[in-house]
Amino acid sequence: MLNGIWTFLILVSIIVSIATHHADRITQGIFQGAKDGVLFSFGLISIIAFWLGIMEIAQQAGVIAMLSKILSPLVRWLYPSVPRDHPAMGFLIANMSANLLGLGNAATPLGISAMRHLQMLASEKDKATDAMCTLLALNTASLTLIPTTVIGLRITFQSRAPSDIVLPSALATLIATVAAVFFDRYFRAHERHKVRR
């Protein structure tokens, strides 16, 4: 998909700029865009490294474990098909905690481990179970408390208030997550209904 989009963007740009006699803009554009890519990836190192440093402290201090404890009743409610003390449960909770803290890269391996354990509970190995669909729904909506990358980018652009989007983001992500859980349950019920008929 990205293949197509990327190639489309470049080819259309070249065709348009030649058609409008501005072929010189292509060279400028490539150089400027590539330079920005390097600059902003470098700019992001600062906040990402800092945040991961703080999160390592949180990990060692047991703050993430505290968060997991708070979240566990909610997670149990979200995954009614997973037994309480099944190993998948631990990964499901850890995955949600990592997402909440904006640790997308840590959340992914935890989510995959959860998937592996959920597969053990599955009867058909190539078909997504209810719990897997819920895990997907929650991770695509990705409930995040602090969007570190975006804050980092805003700092790079000398925003006067880089973190004033924290609360709106939390609100938007909460709405999207609630919607995701709703859609997940709605389509599941819908599917069951169809099968029964």
């Binding site: 990836s41 440093g53 995040t144 938007a172």
Partner: protein, 178 residues
């Protein structure tokens, strides 16, 4: 009301950090060493992002400076107007579920054009920060264990992305315009 909300936004990050440090202190974590260990991981994360950022920002910048974006926007304008959707955010909304680095590159471009503190810049920030890349998550999670029948998972992901886009616009509009 507005003042209170902004204050909460600004305090959330410092308070989280203070809380973590205090708990770490009380529990005898060697704070500085732990920080350094964690921060080291940040380099890998940012540097691995660089090739994608170069690829996408070059393509997006080309698309803008060549005038192709202006043409595309003229075509999309009637649709955006009908939906009362800010035209400048349409590319971001479309690319957000498809690629995280591509939408980050688009956000970078948006900041460059309008500034991070403009209404558009804030809406874009919230859009980028409030959801994850649906197609990527789907591919990684299902791919890793060989799930081929995803049932309704894609539908749920894309629908909740749409909700997040709309919520971003409404929430920012509500909080930042008088």
């Amino acid at each position: 009301m507005m003042q209170v909300l902004t204050t909460i936004s600004t305090l959330m990050l410092p308070l989280t950090i203070a809380f973590i440090l205090i708990v770490g202190l009380v529990r005898g974590v060697s704070l500085y060493d732990a920080f350094i260990t964690g921060a080291k991981k940040g380099f890998g994360t940012s540097i691995t992002l660089m090739p994608q950022m170069i690829a996408m920002l070059a393509a997006i910048t080309l698309f803008r400076v060549s005038g192709a974006l202006t043409i595309g926007i003229t075509w999309l304008k009637p649709i955006a107007d009908r939906l009362h959707f800010p035209l400048e955010l349409l590319p971001l909304a479309i690319l957000r579920p498809i690629s995280g680095s591509a939408s980050l590159a688009l956000l970078t471009d948006l900041f460059k054009q309008h500034g991070p503190d403009s209404l558009l810049g804030r809406m874009g920030s919230v859009m980028q920060g409030s959801t994850d890349t649906t197609l990527y998550v789907l591919a990684i999670y299902f791919g890793s264990i060989g799930i081929t029948k995803g049932r309704y998972a894609l539908r749920v992901g894309l629908l909740s992305d749409a909700v997040s886009v709309i919520a971003s616009i409404i929430v920012v509009n509500w909080l930042f315009t008088k």
